[in-house]
Symmetry: C2
Subunit: 728 residues, 2 copies
């Protein structure tokens, strides 16, 4: 740790042509070493030659709109299910794009609708024979004959996406008026690949001062259908779904490789599509694998060009990230130098900090320097408070950074927007210094971490480690747990049901957590009908491991229970058909309980699963809401299970989860090292540096005692949002 | 109406030997015309010859315990699923009665277990081959070999029921010590039939003063498994289930008649059994029909004997009522003269008052004269307040009696318990007079009822009209709606999905209500996948009818929606897999809305379905909880739908439902006749008598204005719990 590194470096500033003075002034104040452009801004030569490293954003698939316009059939596509229409007679007219934003889509009838589309009677679930429907391209309408009155009909159809979504979002958000709509071209076409590579060559020629090509991102955006009605501006928005990779050409290539053809309904799934919430089918996993292989392969070609010019290639872990899968096996093959993500929270921080096979991991913090935040906050508008916004995100990010560092931080957007917010300008200077200080603690050192490995079990597993459906998933049990655990001093990994089926529970795992809602990908859905899963987890717990279920763990309507691990958990959930059953009347466990020790009041999980009941006296109930237990545990064999009827990321619940993990692992005796007495504070100890970091996750001053090895403790006062570093 | 009938008659008093003076004194004070005995009490000759009509209780199947003891294989049975056991190795030992009350059951191994029982691996759902399990009758244990470790195993086995449940309940509740346990004999055996008829003949000889034989009831009790552990005294309790009719002999007879054999699993259904909440399968409906035919047939033989002695036969619509189905087609064939039910509420009142083919309908009110009520209330114990208990039940019963009368009321139990409650004695005198007064209003007259027919659609239909799972089902959408509607001035009927499949929606119905939870019998479960149901209801609404959905109406995971009538309702419910979807952002409808007009505050439905979203702008939202609509409507064709996210029986919600019915029927203009302004009061007008009854359903004095035809209104003050009768 040298002092210089604490005031300068690891900071990416968004520059802005026309604001050269501001750019350089803030670059100095904030200790930037890199200046970047953003979507909507550009850098002038005064900036690019100012001696700073330059990141230049480049979105290859929307970079050459002339080519896109000249090749309308090479534009990216997707498959859409029309909004359901009720048959009022034996003829039904379906206006395909009704409800969808017509500026986003152009119906694709280049690929024969009768070959590629499917029409369904959703009331019966039957597909309508092609002879019974026709498409009229003049009006974008499907006419169905021989319909059954009052049945519901939908059409799965293919569309070109004629306005690249991120560009559309920025355009609309910032009122770009008649600026041309950019279109995304699809590199699945060899002609598009050729064009992208040629464009990249030229672009590299034209950007001699660029040190890092900041790819935003690779080729396929996350799924984002927009709506026509102002009251439904967005129809669906899923950070993890591959819907925007789907097109007849891609399906043909998939068929060549995999030997079978995906149908439109494999993607549409009666309107559920393949969201992150849905347990991925085997076919869909094949599709993802196919796209991932393609992205890695063509991505490598782009990166090689960049490297050939002596520049580095960083990728944005967002926007067009689909197919990249940075936690997957092929990511290393692409050869990227760095990864950057725009994040709000601890779990997203861990997603970046844990990415392997890159030299640089960078966080782009929020608020983005746009008038309005992506969460709708009036960040830099009248009434906005960007400093407070930033602080509230930072306390969640910081606790994750205490566990695992990243290399850089930065911002994006229109720099000039900060001018009216001098407190923001000062705060970012402070934040950047704190960031560098925390980063420096990881130099040649690692924070104290309990010798305890926790696995979060989902249908996605490591592929979507520290990911969910997007930025905001509050109230989702899995996401809340992930956020809480992102700052805990335990080892965390993500495993999938397929992992267990392939090789059992990986060695070393002491506690498995399953947190979700029935049928969702986080809980696991149909996987719970597979005896191998039951056997593996029962075996783990029986031999001394722990299992923590949150919300509806192992839930499935199957067999004689709803929680398929009810026999381990000792609780189950009543979901409507067993109300005639009387339930075991539990008493709250009498002895003070390890798990609850730091709770100041009754536990509050926010959304509570409810209607939980205990099976018998072997289940200990620690807390309940009326007659529905909230926190229970049960000994099973040599191990233990804990059930939590919900989880909400709050200081008290973070501690509760921390304790529950140790309790489930029967590791209570090992609990408490470097633990603050005050749950609004957290601590991390770096033994190599002999430094103890104590952070305050609240706006108010907090007094706290940190337990030291040997049984003593040290008292610290930490100001609101503050961070204290002590030599111990 | 003559005055005498207002002070005497229509009242059944429970007499008690040893308290002759009290019996006759209260008979006079309360205006009784009948004295009865109860389970646990008997009448002395001083009472039976006192000039009052005498009801004598008789439970034929537990009447002759000597015969039962001599014929242990003729005792009633049931099929039980053992509590699930986890295999810790490849051998599993299942103690069959573990968790169940051993005094209630004796395992039946007279009928070969390997022929009749079934053992399941509930983890895989597979049945275990008989070669892999053995039963040891010495210890009541099944041993399974070749088990799969960590799988869950259960045994379906048959038991004799060696302690008749109602008798057991009374025995335990009243501490009857070493009084002999009575056993229920099964009339499915011809020998038992013979014995019952012979016993009845003798009994009739021995009861010359008895005018009415009060059968308690026929042959089979509702389902009631007791538990071993004091914390789970009852395992399950379902007023409507046929589980206690099940035995190998009955299954053999069923097979002779129906040509196929029911298996144990047809009854056990992986531990769900066939509760009232479960949509009845075709097989189970066959079974009910078989038992119903048997009960009607043998019941007729018993009734004929009673009639032959010039006595009347009344039946208790509870306890051993299974197979009787008073709302079914065969009930008339039995020839019963009267029906009596112990009730707490309005819906139960309508169940009795609407029973056809009997001359006398009688309510047995609560509290029962037992120290403790069946709801656990300390009725006549220290701390009990039987007067208040009775009042709170009475206001719910009374509003139903305003719509449809019964002939009699009464009490049961130990009369002497009232001695310490002089206020109760006075209150019952008052209540009996009020009862007679209200009854008299129906003489030659009917209350004003709107020309509007409402059908409640469930999987049970008319067979279980005004019935649910038992007395207490608070929080159950269907039950709450039924309770509210039991006092409304509209015509109500109950229809089943099978009715619709057989003949469409019966003519005359203007509004259909579906209130329930996904997969339950009240909502309809799999029936909603049947297009004929969708077609019928869509057609009704399209041509001007109304549909009201409450909670999870038409819910099923099927097709492209969760509510299968989402296209009519304009709302659907998010249940976990579509969280990535953005929803139409509704505003609350601006104009004052007919449905909400009498609400004094925000609607409160108690349990709210939650996670409701509107499909588009065609749905009008009248009230919402956060972003989840609570009350919506939508025009569809000529008709209209209303969605309510829950319902709780409260004065405000009764009015809300009342208005919703008229609104759905587009009959707003006809609304308001004889309507009180104050929702805590209700009114009924009897045009023949020109009498207007205004009741106060609250403990406090209420001021209210009743709208009269012609647009005027009349003001009335009604004391708490009170009733005013006005000449209009």
């Amino acid at each position: 740790m040298d002092n210089k590194s604490l005031t300068t470096g690891g900071f990416t500033l968004p520059g802005e042509a026309g604001y050269e003075e501001l750019t350089l002034q803030l670059a100095k104040k904030w200790g930037a070493d890199v200046i970047r452009d953003s979507d909507g801004t550009r850098l002038s030569e005064a900036i690019t030659t100012s001696g700073y490293e330059i990141y230049s954003t480049l979105c290859l698939i929307r970079a050459d709109n002339e080519w896109a316009k000249a090749h309308p059939d090479k534009v990216q596509q997707c498959c859409i299910m029309s909004q359901p229409v009720v048959a009022g007679s034996d003829g039904v007219t379906i206006d395909l794009l009704n409800g969808y934003f017509w500026k986003q889509f152009r119906i694709n009838s280049d690929d024969d609708p009768h070959e590629w589309w499917q029409v369904f009677d959703r009331t019966t679930g039957e597909e309508i024979a092609t002879k019974d429907w026709t498409y009229d391209p003049a009006v974008g309408v499907v006419e169905i004959v021989n319909a059954r009155k009052w049945h519901l009909y939908t059409v799965n159809f293919f569309c070109y996406r004629i306005w690249e979504e991120i560009s559309m979002y920025n355009h609309v958000t910032n009122d770009w008026g008649d600026r041309e709509h950019l279109m995304p071209i699809d590199p699945i076409h060899p002609e598009a690949q050729e064009r992208i590579l040629a464009y990249l060559e030229t672009w590299l020629d034209e950007h001699p001062n660029t040190s890092v090509v900041r790819l935003t991102s690779m080729f396929y955006n996350f799924w984002w259908f927009w709506g026509e009605h102002p009251k439904r501006r967005f129809v669906v928005n899923d950070w993890g779904s591959y819907e925007f990779t789907v097109s007849p050409p891609a399906i043909r290539k998939f068929e060549e490789k995999n030997g079978y053809r995906m149908k439109s309904e494999d993607f549409v799934n009666a309107g559920l599509y393949n969201t992150s919430y849905k347990v991925p089918s085997a076919k869909y996993r094949d599709w993802m694998d196919f796209i991932n292989a393609f992205v890695a392969d063509f991505g490598r070609k782009c990166v090689d060009l960049i490297h050939a010019r002596g520049k580095k290639a960083f990728v944005f872990y967002n926007d067009h990230w689909i197919g990249l899968e940075p936690w997957g096996d092929r990511f290393k093959d692409i050869g990227l130098d760095g990864i950057i993500d725009g994040i709000f929270s601890g779990f997203e921080t861990r997603k970046v900090s844990g990415t392997k096979h890159v030299q640089v991991r960078e966080l782009r913090l929020h608020p983005y320097l746009f008038p309005t935040g992506v969460n709708g906050a009036p960040s830099f508008l009248e009434g906005g408070n960007p400093t407070l916004e930033c602080k509230t995100y930072w306390i969640d990010i910081r606790r994750a950074l205490l566990r695992e560092p990243v290399d850089r931080m930065g911002f994006g957007g229109y720099l000039h927007l900060v001018c009216n917010h001098p407190d923001f300008i000062d705060y970012i200077e402070h934040l950047a210094q704190e960031f560098r200080m925390l980063r420096s603690l990881h130099d040649g050192d690692s924070p104290y971490t309990a010798d305890l490995e926790v696995a979060i079990l989902t249908a996605w597993g490591q592929m979507r480690a520290w990911g969910c459906c997007g930025h905001y998933n509050r109230g989702n049990y899995y996401n809340e747990v992930m956020e809480s655990i992102s700052g805990l001093p335990v080892r965390v990994r993500f495993i999938s049901f397929e992992d267990i089926l392939a090789g059992g529970i990986p060695a070393g795992i002491q506690v498995v957590i399953n947190a979700g809602t029935v049928d969702d990908a986080w809980s696991g859905g149909e996987y719970w009908a597979n005896p191998k899963i039951i056997e593996a987890i029962s075996g783990l717990v029986n031999s001394g491991g722990g299992f923590i279920g949150v919300g509806e763990p192992s839930a499935l309507r199957h067999g004689c229970q709803y929680f398929q691990l009810a026999q381990l958990l000792g609780v189950d959930r009543e979901v409507g058909l067993t109300r005639a059953f009387n339930r075991f009347q539990f008493d709250l466990a009498e002895n003070p309980q390890f798990i609850l020790e730091d709770l100041e009041s009754d536990p509050d999980f926010g959304a509570d699963a409810g209607n939980i009941y205990v099976l018998d006296q072997k289940t200990q109930v620690l807390a309940a809401m009326g007659r529905s237990p909230m926190i229970t545990f049960k000994n099973f064999g040599e191990g233990r299970t804990v059930y939590l009827s919900g989880h909400k990321y709050t200081p008290e619940n973070v501690r509760l989860l921390h304790r529950a993990i140790f309790f489930a692992a029967r590791a209570e005796e090992r609990f408490g090292t470097w633990l603050p007495s005050n749950v609004r504070t957290e601590a991390a100890y770096y033994p190599g540096h002999r430094k103890l970091v104590v952070v305050n996750n609240s706006p108010e001053l907090q007094k706290t005692d940190i337990s030291l090895p040997g049984g003593t403790s040290i008292h610290v006062d930490v100001e609101g949002y503050g961070c204290r570093i002590l030599e111990v």
